[in-house]
C-alpha cells in the first residue's frame, strides 16, 4: 500500500491528538493480544490500551450472566485485570458442576465439565470407579478408575453456551497413575447430539493413544495445571443453535481390564 507523502510532510504522532474515545474504539476493534502489546508503544497508547472501555469489549457479551452463576466474589481493580484473572484462574459455576475461563488471546469462552457431570458407564460401581477429592483438581471430586472392562466416558455441553463462529476442541483431562494398564489405544468421537446418533458416531470414531510406543504427538499432552489431556475431537460452533455436543472416549471392543487413570473432567475450548 503506497501512501502519498506531501513534500512538506513532517512526522507527527497523530494519536496524541485523537480524542480518547476514538482511540478506545480503534483498540476495541483489535484483540486482547493486540491491546496488551499496545501498552508498550507509547504513553498515549498505554493509557487507552489499559482502559476499561477497551477491555469491556473483549469479554463475551454474556459474561456477567456467567459470572453470576459462580459463588466466587469477582472483584478486580480494572476490566483488564478481571479479564486476565478469568483467563488464568477458572471459576466454578453452578455449585461446582463446571468451570469457566477465557482464552487469553481471543476472549473466547472455555468450559470444563466436572467428572461428576460426565456420563461414565459403571461409574456408580465402587469396585470399578472411585470418587474422591484430589489436591490438584479444581473440582471437589475426581473419578478414579480402579478397573473396568467397558470404558465409556462422555462429556456434554450446550452449544448456546459457547462462543459463536468458533472451532472448538474437546479434551479429556486426566492423570495416569503408575499402575495405569490395559489402555494403549482407545476411541474418541465428538458429535452433535441432535443430528447424529451414538451408533453412527461410533462408526467414525478416531483412535487416540494413551500410552505405549508411537509418535509423541499423539500421546496425552501435559497441561499447565498439572494434568494431562487427550483430544477427543473438534467441531465448529456457528451461532450456538445446534443443541448439545457430546464428546466421548471409549474402549468397548477390546474388553480386557483397564485401570489406573484419574479423570478430572472434559474441557471444551477454542484451541
Amino acid at each position: 500500500m503506497e501512501f502519498f507523502w506531501s513534500s512538506s510532510h513532517v512526522p507527527v504522532d497523530y494519536f496524541r491528538f485523537l480524542p480518547e474515545g476514538c482511540i478506545s474504539e480503534i483498540f476495541s476493534l483489535t484483540s486482547p493480544k493486540d491491546a496488551a502489546r499496545f501498552s508498550a508503544v507509547s504513553r498515549t497508547f498505554m493509557s487507552a490500551a489499559e482502559s476499561n472501555v477497551v477491555w469491556e469489549k473483549f469479554f463475551p457479551s454474556d459474561y456477567n450472566d456467567i459470572i453470576s452463576r459462580s459463588d466466587s466474589l469477582m472483584v478486580s481493580p480494572s476490566k483488564k485485570q478481571l479479564y486476565l484473572s478469568l483467563c488464568d484462574s477458572p471459576i466454578l459455576l453452578d455449585g461446582g458442576k463446571l468451570s469457566f475461563s477465557l482464552d487469553k488471546k481471543t476472549g473466547k469462552k472455555c468450559f470444563m465439565v466436572a467428572a461428576t457431570e460426565l456420563g461414565i458407564t459403571w461409574g456408580d460401581t465402587p469396585e470399578y470407579w472411585e470418587w474422591l477429592s484430589h489436591p490438584d483438581s479444581r473440582f471437589s471430586k475426581v473419578a478414579k478408575l480402579n478397573s473396568v472392562c467397558w470404558l465409556d466416558v462422555r462429556g456434554k455441553i450446550e452449544t448456546r453456551m459457547l462462543s459463536e463462529r468458533t472451532k472448538y476442541f474437546a479434551y479429556l483431562v486426566l492423570k495416569l497413575e503408575d499402575r495405569f494398564h490395559g489402555l494403549g489405544n482407545a476411541n474418541a468421537v465428538v458429535r452433535f447430539v441432535d443430528s447424529e446418533s451414538d451408533n453412527d458416531a461410533e462408526q467414525r470414531a478416531s483412535v487416540v493413544r494413551l500410552s505405549g510406543q508411537g509418535p509423541r504427538a499423539t500421546l496425552p499432552l501435559s497441561r499447565d495445571d498439572g494434568w494431562m489431556e487427550v483430544e477427543l475431537g473438534n467441531f465448529f460452533n456457528d451461532i450456538g443453535e445446534d443443541g448439545a455436543v457430546d464428546a466421548r472416549l471409549m474402549e468397548i471392543r477390546d474388553l480386557g481390564w483397564k485401570g489406573g487413570l484419574i479423570v478430572q473432567g472434559v474441557e471444551f475450548r477454542p484451541e
Binding site: C22, R37, S39
Partner: protein, 150 residues
C-alpha cells in the same frame, strides 16, 4: 416528490460547499441544526477544512447513491480509505465533529486493521510515534504483558 433543499456548509478556511439536505443530514450535528431550524445561512464548520470536507462529501454522496451494490460500496470504501494516516486522522476528527457514526466506525476499523498483529516497533514506525518510555519502563510493560509478545 419533495423538493430537494440545498444546504451551504462553510469550512474553516472559508470555502463554501452546497449540498442536498438529504445527504448532509448523514451528519447528526447538521441534522440537529436543520431540525432546530438554524440553517437559514451557511452552516459554519470551524473544525473542518475544505480538503477534508471534500473527502467527507465524496463519501456521503457515494453512500447516498441509488443502485449501488454492497460490493461496489465496499470497493469504494477500500479505495477511499487507502490514504496516509494523516488524512485518516483529519477525516476521523471531522467525522467525530460532524457526528457521523457510520463514517467514524469505518475509519476506526481501517486504523484498527493497520495496527492489528503488529509489534510496537512496527506501529511506531508506521505512525511516526515517539517512544516516550525509558528502556526500563518499556521492559517492565513487556514483562507484565509477556503472554502477548510470543
Amino acid at each position: 416528490m419533495s423538493s430537494t433543499k440545498l444546504l451551504t456548509l462553510k469550512t474553516s478556511d472559508g470555502e463554501e460547499f452546497k449540498l442536498d439536505e438529504a445527504v448532509a443530514v448523514k451528519s447528526q450535528a447538521i441534522k440537529n441544526m436543520v431540525e432546530d431550524d438554524c440553517v437559514s445561512n451557511a452552516i459554519p464548520l470551524p473544525n473542518v477544512d475544505s480538503k477534508t470536507m471534500t473527502k467527507v462529501i465524496e463519501y456521503w454522496k457515494k453512500h447516498s447513491e441509488e443502485g449501488v451494490s454492497k460490493d461496489q460500496l465496499n470497493d469504494f470504501d477500500k479505495g477511499f480509505l487507502e490514504v496516509h494516516h494523516s488524512v485518516l486522522y483529519d477525516l476521523l476528527l471531522a467525522a467525530n465533529y460532524l457526528n457521523d457514526k457510520e463514517l467514524v466506525d469505518v475509519i476506526c476499523q481501517e486504523v484498527a486493521d493497520r495496527i492489528k498483529g503488529k509489534t510496537p516497533e512496527e506501529i511506531r514506525k508506521e505512525f511516526d510515534i515517539k517512544n516516550d518510555f525509558t528502556p526500563e519502563e518499556e521492559e517492565k510493560i513487556r514483562q507484565e504483558n509477556a503472554w502477548a509478545f510470543d
